[in-house]
């Protein structure tokens, strides 16, 4: 029942917001929906912890620890972003950016706020659906749904660059998802011989996972390659990452934050599901090698762009590429440690990344630019809270202790060593160090420095509290992970490794 409720709440909230006239009401609807969603996600976690898995409609919807984790993270991200969005769009409205966007948008531009508050719940709905769908085809449909909903978010401001970004996003995403679909079809085909059913259940993951040992191996190999490329495109793994910087730098900040965390989680979730099938069918070696290759490639590709970067919002995108690379690498290293590292990393990433976006958004809204050159540094003088949070979250996101990424990266490194990939682990650490250096140099020069004489930022409470609150959560996460959450993660690890 909870599964249905989880889906209905966002699905209902979208159209409801569409019907409303006043900005205030739309905000309330969104906030309420996501608060409820988060609460229900917690309930789902509790149920999953108690029962192992929850399913509905004859296994059409299915939630085990892995999906519960993704649901929880998606709900968390949605909630946090919706809180921030209130402040963000009010600022946009008062500074006239929204009106401008509406003019540019021409006849397709409905009232912009409504567009956002309607599409976001649908976006979230697809994310939740990704995690809850048992059927791999439905999973694909849901991932495609996230893309479609988010294309509008990317072209939200209607600028030339937004269109460009949206086009690239849509086309590359479309190609990627076609590959994923091809992979899904081939998976179905490879299972066909073993299962021999034409029924709906033939694509259900829970069924497939049980029989994966008997799948046709060559088909599965090809299927995994296609799925890896397909969902890898969605996750922004190099060399399919190219849409990311454009999309992230054009979407409104809350949307970009959800893209960078929620969608990434969904894509990786899908990848994990297929990875399980592939390693059961082909043994872990085949998938691992590819995953390690792509993981390291992503990190390596992110490095030069992080070292030399003019635009702080694009910087965030490259950081996201780096992180998806890390997670894919962790999956590739495999073993209980690698998976644990990956899921921990996913959790921390979902908690940490939004703050990075919020800080960047505050800076951009205040200075009306996203270029380092124009920002001139010395941010700490005009916006102390954002500046401090920006610096802190930069450290967090680059894996500095005591922040929690250090735990996951340490675990991943251990996994790398125990999987015997010594040289690759060294490379991993080198990339981490380089990325840290590049990132910190940029942000430190942005935040610190002499007072450039910019007027004090006047931030409303929504923005301020979401930044401060999230910063608090991140700080606490460095020292304390709630026991149920960790248990959930461990159960999920169990599913991936042994289940």
């Amino acid at each position: 029942m909870i599964l249905l409720a989880l889906l209905i709440v966002p699905l209902a909230a979208g159209p409801l917001a569409f019907l409303l006239r006043r900005r205030h009401m739309m905000e309330v609807i969104n906030l309420a929906a996501f608060a409820i969603l988060f609460g229900m996600a917690a309930v789902l976690v509790a149920q999953v912890l108690r029962n192992g898995s929850v399913s509905l409609w004859n296994g059409f919807f299915y939630a085990d620890a892995l999906s519960a984790l993704v649901v929880l993270l998606s709900a968390f991200v949605a909630l946090v972003c919706s809180v921030y969005a209130v402040g963000y769009f009010r600022h946009d409205e008062s500074s006239g950016v929204l009106q401008e966007a509406e003019e540019v948008g021409g006849r397709f531009g409905v009232q912009k706020l409504r567009e956002y508050y309607t599409l976001t719940p649908l976006f979230v709905f697809s994310m939740i659906l990704v995690a809850l769908a048992n059927n791999l085809g439905i999973l694909w449909v849901a991932v495609e749904g996230t893309t479609l909903a988010s294309v509008f978010l990317v072209m939200f401001y209607g600028r030339e660059t937004s269109l460009e970004a949206a086009w690239k996003y849509a086309i590359i995403g479309g190609v990627g998802l076609s590959m994923a679909l091809f992979g899904t079809i081939l998976t179905y085909y490879s299972a066909y011989g073993a299962l021999g059913t034409d029924t709906l259940a033939g694509l259900n993951w829970s069924v497939l996972a049980e029989n994966a040992g008997h799948f046709d191996q060559p088909t599965m190999r090809l299927a995994f390659i296609l799925v890896l490329l397909g969902y890898g495109t969605k996750a922004g793994i190099a060399p399919m990452h190219t849409w990311k910087p454009d999309a992230y730098s054009e979407a409104p900040i809350p949307g970009a934050a959800m893209l960078a965390t929620g969608v990434l989680n969904c894509a990786l979730y899908a990848l994990i599901r297929f990875y399980i099938l592939s390693s059961k069918c082909l043994g872990p070696q085949f998938g691992s090698r590819l995953l390690i290759l792509f993981g390291l490639l992503s990190m390596g590709v992110a490095v030069p762009f992080i070292l030399v970067q003019k635009n702080f919002r694009r910087l965030l995108a490259y950081s996201s590429i780096d992180h998806s690379g890390i997670m894919v690498l962790a999956l590739g290293f495999g073993g209980p440690l690698g998976i644990l590292g990956m899921l921990l990393h996913m959790t921390f990433h979902s908690v940490t990344k939004p703050l990075l976006f919020f800080c960047a958004g505050n800076v951009q809204q205040h200075l009306k630019t996203d270029l380092f050159r124009k920002a001139k540094g010395g941010l700490i003088h005009s916006m102390p809270l954002t500046g401090a949070a920006f610096l802190m979250v930069t450290l967090a996101v680059t894996g500095s202790p005591p922040f929690s990424f250090f735990q996951s990266e340490f675990t991943i490194l251990r996994a790398g060593f125990s999987s015997g990939s010594l040289v690759l682990s060294v490379l991993f650490v080198c990339f981490l160090v380089l990325i840290f250096s590049g990132f910190l140099v940029h942000i430190a020069n942005l935040v610190l420095g002499d007072d450039p004489g910019v007027p004090q930022a006047n931030m409303c409470g929504w923005k301020r509290y979401s930044v401060a609150g999230l910063a608090g959560v991140i700080l606490v996460m460095g020292f304390w992970i709630p026991a149920p959450l960790f248990r959930l993660i461990q159960n999920a690890v169990g599913i991936v490794v042994g289940g």
Binding site: K168, I171, I172, V175, G176, M179, P218, R221, L222, I225, L228, L229, T233, P239, M240, T242, W243, P245, L290, V301, V303, P304, F305, L307, V308, L340, G378, I380, S400, P401, P402, F406, Q407, F410, L413, R414, G416, F417, S425, V426, V429, C430, L432, V433, L434, F436, S437, L440, V441, A444, N445, L448, G449, D450, D451, F479, W480, I481, A483, F486
Partner: protein, 681 residues
């Protein structure tokens, strides 16, 4: 004998640091309150930490605690043993002195800078150092390590409005992160062997490591800790970072933070790793020699007082490494007694350097506080307005130059002795390296003396060279007390070394399985010996007494003579020209000119003289002289590396050229390649 409340004192000191950090941050709007909280809590924490260290060392047996952490993967386990206790002792001494000093020093921050945040960083640094010295778990160790680095970064970049500080801070944190990277890899290697992150489990795991892995672990840890300690060629951050921090922070940075690297090496190489490869000790020794000699040579060319001190930190780290390297070699060669002496030399020098370097930085801080200048060429004559500071600085200068009877001499003496012993204790050509290292130590000592003659004389003696220097005033009393404490430390550790040495008994027993201090003390407890009865002895106490007794009759003689024949004051002879002015004085540049010429192969000095002529080419109106030395490592190692990385980066950046066709083509090519890969059976 578990009766000492070590854990209580230790926990309280941690709590004091933590509370002090949070409280000063919380009170940042009220500067004077923040200042009192910051300094008071640090003083309390330092005192408690010192108590814990003394009790811990007295107790002798290690104490373990394990605190469950909020992170299920890791445990916070602490172990208070002799080695950690000793470093905590150093930390406590410095903390006490620096926090007393800061009462006065931070006063000028009021209304200008955020004292609350300074206090937060300061306490964070102290807290993390304490954790590093007591962590018994790789994870906790790394957290403490990196948090310390972040706090230090905050302190280095504290004057972030200045570009220099920002750049130095970034250089520092990048290097610090690189060292964390090395440590991560090193620990991962050990953890993989042992299956646990506890230090205790490394003992057995290290024994089973293959020799290649053992070597890899050694290299990784040596890199990691070496960067932290600032050994050459990983030193470039140190002279950039330490000078730009507020002086009380610089004192801690040079005094104790870089010693964390020494701690780490000692802990890992002697304790955890058990057996290091046989060449490891030699590598440490050679790196030590290079660091010592080059460090002091670069220091000589420096005219910025704090940068000069920073370079001396590199030199002294080198000296410490000589002792440590010798200890490693002896240990592998099976001479625990000699290893003990060498270890004591290294550890004692660590303590001594901490004390006098902290003292010197505090002295430089007082000068900076009073004159606002860091360039020695603008100082001069400060001994008159600032007599106490000058005296303390002089003591520090004598101590760091390794001159008897102060503490620097004692530890250098012990280092010499262990190096000499190496000649007899090792075979082959390596034995030649020991006396050669000894002679390089002599060179280092003599150059250090030259450098501190320059530093002290140009800063404090003769006539003021600038307006700031002539309006200088003595530092407030609390700052003097802070420096005074350390001055007393320099003297008493020098004279009372034989009473202090038993502190090392527990440490050598723990690390080398043997108590060696009894062999080091003869002659009724006054005389320090080098371990064997005939090897060599020295008594700083007697030297001090002897100096006084011999100078006394001379003083009587002179005073009688002056009473009879008069004593008057007159102008300095200046070749008959009227009135000596500050322009006639020897400058720091001039002082080091001879050495610059002699070591020009190394410095590759560049100089430029521009003369402005008015009427006749024989009477220049103005001469501008510029001289700089080539920063070898920056130019030949780091700049090319950086350039390489950036060149590759800019080349790679063209992949994101904005063309969607290119983007699609990447995917297409990948797809085709992978399809071919997938088809292959």
């Amino acid at each position: 004998m578990n009766t000492f409340p070590v854990s209580a004192a230790f926990a309280l000191s941690l709590a004091a640091y933590a509370a002090g950090g949070v409280a000063s941050l919380a009170s940042w709007r009220r500067p004077s309150m923040a200042r009192n909280i910051c300094c008071g809590a640090a003083l309390a924490g330092g005192a408690l930490g010192g108590l814990a260290a003394v009790l811990g060392i007295l107790q002798g047996t290690p104490v373990h605690w394990s605190v469950p952490s909020g992170i299920p993967l890791f445990a916070y386990s602490f172990s208070y043993d002799a080695l950690g206790g000793f470093f905590n002792l150093i930390l406590a001494i410095l903390t006490i002195a620096v926090s007393v000093y800061s009462f006065g020093y931070l006063k000028e921050f009021e209304g200008k800078r955020n004292i609350g945040f300074f206090g937060f960083l300061f306490h964070l640094l102290l807290l993390s150092l304490t954790i590093v010295f007591t962590a018994a778990n790789a994870f906790l160790f790394l957290i403490g390590w990196e948090v310390g680095a972040l706090a230090a970064y905050g302190l280095v970049a504290f004057y972030h409005e200045q570009r220099e500080s920002r750049q130095a801070g970034l250089l520092y944190i990048i290097m610090a992160h690189a060292d964390v990277g090395c440590l991560l890899l090193g620990f991962a290697l050990l953890i993989q062997g042992s299956g646990s992150a506890e230090f205790a489990s490394f003992h057995t795991a290290a024994a089973h490591l293959s020799s290649a892995r053992q070597s890899a672990a050694f290299v990784l840890f040596f890199l990691g800790f070496g960067i932290k300690a600032g050994v050459i060629p990983f030193h470039i951050w140190l002279p950039a970072a330490h000078p730009v921090a507020p002086s009380n922070a610089s004192a801690l940075l040079s005094g104790i933070v870089i010693k964390a690297g020494i701690y780490g090496m000692t802990r890992i190489f002697l304790d955890s790793l058990g057996g290091v490869p046989s060449w490891a000790g030699l590598a440490v020794l050679i790196v030590g020699v290079v660091s010592a000699v080059l460090g002091v040579l670069y220091a000589l060319m420096e005219h910025d007082l704090k940068r000069l001190l920073a370079y001396h930190s590199i030199e002294n780290i080198g000296i410490i490494l000589m002792g440590l390297g010798a200890a490693l070699i002896f240990r592998v060669a099976g001479h625990p007694l000699l290893a003990g002496v060498a270890l004591i030399a290294a550890m004692f020098h660590t303590l001594n350097h901490a004390i006098f370097k902290c003292l010197l930085f505090l002295g430089a801080g007082s000068v900076l506080h009073s004159t606002g200048a860091r360039n020695m060429e603008e100082m001069g004559g400060l001994i008159r307005p600032m007599p106490v500071t000058a005296f303390c600085f002089l003591i520090g200068a004598v101590a760091i130059s390794g001159l008897p009877p102060l503490n620097g001499f004692v530890s250098e003496w012990l280092t010499y002795q262990s190096l000499l012993a190496g000649f007899g204790a090792t075979g082959g050509l390596t034995r030649i390296l020991f006396p050669l290292a000894g002679s390089m130590l002599a060179l280092t000592g003599a150059l250090a003396a030259a450098c501190f003659v320059k530093a002290f004389a140009i800063t404090f003696l003769a006539l003021p060279r600038g307006a700031e220097a002539s309006h200088a005033h003595e530092a407030p009393r609390s700052m003097l007390v802070g420096m005074g404490t350390l001055t007393v430390g320099c003297v008493s550790l020098g004279l009372g070394v034989t009473w202090f040495l038993p502190v090392f008994n527990a440490m050598t027993e723990q690390l080398l399985g043997q108590r060696v201090v009894a062999n080091l003390i003869t002659g009724g407890g006054f005389v320090l010996s080098a371990g064997t009865p005939h090897s060599g002895t020295v008594s700083t106490a007697i030297i001090a007494v002897g100096l006084l007794t011999l100078a006394l009759p001379a003083a009587l003689l002179v005073s009688r003579a002056t009473r009879r024949f008069g004593r008057k004051s007159g102008p300095v002879w200046d070749c008959g020209l009227p009135a000596l002015s500050e322009e006639n004085e020897y400058t720091a540049t001039g002082f080091s000119k001879a050495l610059r010429m002699i070591f020009s192969v190394l410095y590759k000095p560049r100089r430029e003289i521009q003369a402005v002529f008015d009427v006749s080419p024989y009477f220049p109106k103005e001469i501008r002289f510029e001289s700089e030395i080539e920063p070898t490592f920056e130019k030949w190692l780091y700049a090319p590396l950086q350039e390489f990385i950036f060149r590759i980066s800019s080349r790679m950046r063209t992949i994101q050229a904005g063309s969607i066709h290119a983007y699609l083509a990447y995917i297409f090519v990948t797809l085709v390649l992978l399809l071919l890969f997938g088809v292959r059976k």
